[in-house]
């Protein structure tokens, strides 16, 4: 099992913005149940600003901690500002993640982007973005620097 720092443990034990949202303006779902992490992000947007954000995550402690922290980081931000959030910033806000858990922070970044993309599609009258459950696991991608934790 990974060794987590105190910030990660705190975020995991007391996550913020947890749970489903009724009538969201955008929903993004990323990850792969095969790999053991799936993240769903719900957005409520007012005047181009993220008024509320929620997450539901199936995954390890790092996946839950990064979900919580990433949602906190973009809450109240404009869409453009939220799109600038990087996985590195999420990991840094948590005081660093074990190398094999960096992909969890990437999942949080992608989850927020997917929810924003869905929000924009809905605004254009396009059908909602389908969940991306068939995505390859980040840790399956050859050449990723995070290593495999083996």
């Amino acid at each position: 099992m990974s060794m987590y720092n105190e910030k990660v443990i705190q975020a995991f034990m007391n996550p913020k913005n947890v749970g489903a949202m009724e009538n969201p303006d955008g929903v993004g779902e990323v990850g792969n149940p095969r790999c053991g992490d799936v993240m769903r992000i719900y957005l409520r947007v007012r005047d181009d600003r993220i008024e509320d954000i929620r997450f539901e995550t199936f995954g390890c402690a790092a996946a839950i901690a990064t979900s919580s922290t990433a949602t906190e980081m973009v809450k109240g931000k404009t869409i453009e500002e939220a799109l600038k959030l990087t996985n590195r910033e999420v990991a840094e806000a948590l005081g660093g993640l074990p190398p094999e858990k960096i992909h969890c922070s990437l999942l949080a970044e992608e989850g927020i982007r997917a929810a924003i993309e869905d929000y924009r599609r809905r605004r254009q009258g396009l059908p909602p973005l389908p969940p991306r459950h068939d995505a390859v696991c980040h840790h399956d991608i050859p050449g990723m620097e995070e290593g495999h934790g083996e």
Binding site: M1, P33, R34, G36, M39, A61, G149
Partner: protein, 388 residues
């Protein structure tokens, strides 16, 4: 807060009575058991006694027991030792898909060395089908190795039936009994097994010492060459304190089995299993309901992931384990659960709770009160729900 260790399949504590017997062999009884003088002879006597104690646990003869540096080494010695010794007779080896890596990877290694390998599937309860086993045997089969009981799901294999087939077909049969030895009555005079692996640290003995039972008359080749210790099968000056500790642990285990303490453990295990299944929805027991280790409870808890559960339990003072990818440090969840036909998402939610000799009814009740809210809390966070 009382901390409750529920990971006895991983390892056990050294019992105080075992430690007490070991300690002099780090200090005043430091002789080399291979020396002729009094310093050596007193240690040789202690090793002989330990060997007799381990033999008694299996109803074996002392010279059928050889000490190794642990269970993995004993597995390697059994499999490679037979392969080396019998390769002139045939080059086919049979094992199962749910073996411990010490067996599975050793057999796969033989596969790269020019042996033919058959890895048998298991049923949904983790048992090798006897008919599959029989059908896999070929004229050139020299060895079959099937674990006595599985570490992840607790299932006990039909070892007697498999062994009888091996007898009938004239092939050697090895079983990795690391999880079973000291916890189930084993009698090699009555069981058709030729080689059996044990490890002291799973029965309240020290880590770093194991044993291989080799039936009288079975000739295997050594892995470690040198001074010819352990009947020429495991050279190297003996780990005297460890071996003495194993002997003491074997005596303790024999007493526990004779006193019916195993039955007490089994009742507590059933209280735990029944409690988890009745208090939490969408949980499945992994492994066989009755043909399982008396101290072993294992589950898959749907819609949540194992590592998250373990950490929450840890913060509540309960030490458990899981076969999720996040805990194994690999990409895949437990190969054992996948071999039993579980899907990946379910396997990621695995939870193993293994009881020990000091586990109490109150401990079980604490777990039964602690686990459901943790599961509920994590499920509230999960995008997967019942009927979703």
């Amino acid at each position: 807060m009382r901390r409750i260790y529920m990971d006895h399949s991983a390892t056990t504590c050294v019992d105080p009575s075992v430690l007490e017997k070991m300690l002099p062999f780090f200090s005043e009884k430091y002789g080399n058991p291979n020396s002729v003088h009094a310093w050596g002879r007193e240690v040789r006597t202690a090793i002989d006694e330990a060997r007799a104690s381990v033999a008694r646990l299996l109803n074996a003869e002392p010279r059928e027991i050889l000490f190794t540096g642990g269970g993995s080494e004993a597995d390697n010695l059994a499999i490679k030792g037979v392969a080396e010794s019998f390769s002139g007779k045939g080059r086919h080896v049979i094992t199962s898909a749910i073996e411990h890596h010490a067996v599975l990877d050793t057999v796969k290694w033989l596969g790269k060395e020019g042996f033919d390998v058959t890895i048998l599937p298991v049923d949904s309860e983790g048992r090798v089908r006897v008919e599959d086993f029989r059908a896999a045997i070929r004229p050139d089969t020299i060895l079959a190795t099937v674990m006595y009981a599985n570490n992840e799901v607790g299932t006990v294999q039909p070892i007697r039936e498999l062994g009888e087939i091996c007898r009938e077909k004239g092939i050697l049969f090895h079983t990795d009994a690391v999880q079973a030895a000291g916890h189930l009555p084993l009698n090699v005079r009555d069981l058709p097994v030729d080689l059996m692996t044990m490890a002291a640290h799973k029965m309240y003995g020290p880590k770093g010492v194991g044993a291989l039972y080799v039936r009288k008359g079975v000739r295997i080749a050594p892995l470690v060459h040198g001074g010819g210790q352990e009947f020429g099968l495991r050279s190297g000056t003996e780990n005297t304190a460890g071996i003495v500790g194993f002997g003491a642990a074997a005596e303790l285990a024999a007493r526990r089995i004779a006193n019916g303490e195993i039955d007490k453990e089994r009742r507590l295990r059933d209280r735990l299993i029944d409690g988890v299944l009745s208090r939490i929805e969408d949980v499945l027991l992994t492994g066989h309901r009755t043909e399982r280790l008396p101290f072993h409870a294992s589950f898959c808890i749907r819609y949540i992931e194992g590592e998250a559960m373990l950490l929450r339990l840890d913060f509540a003072g309960i030490g458990a384990s899981s076969g999720s990818a996040c805990t194994s440090g690999s990409l895949e969840p437990s190969y054992v659960l996948l071999a039993m036909g579980l899907d990946h998402a379910t396997a990621h939610g695995s939870l193993r709770l293994t009881l020990g000799k000091d586990t109490t009814e109150e401990d079980i009740d604490t777990i039964l009160n602690t686990l459901p809210p943790i599961v509920e809390n994590l499920r509230a966070m999960s995008p997967f729900k019942k009927n979703a």
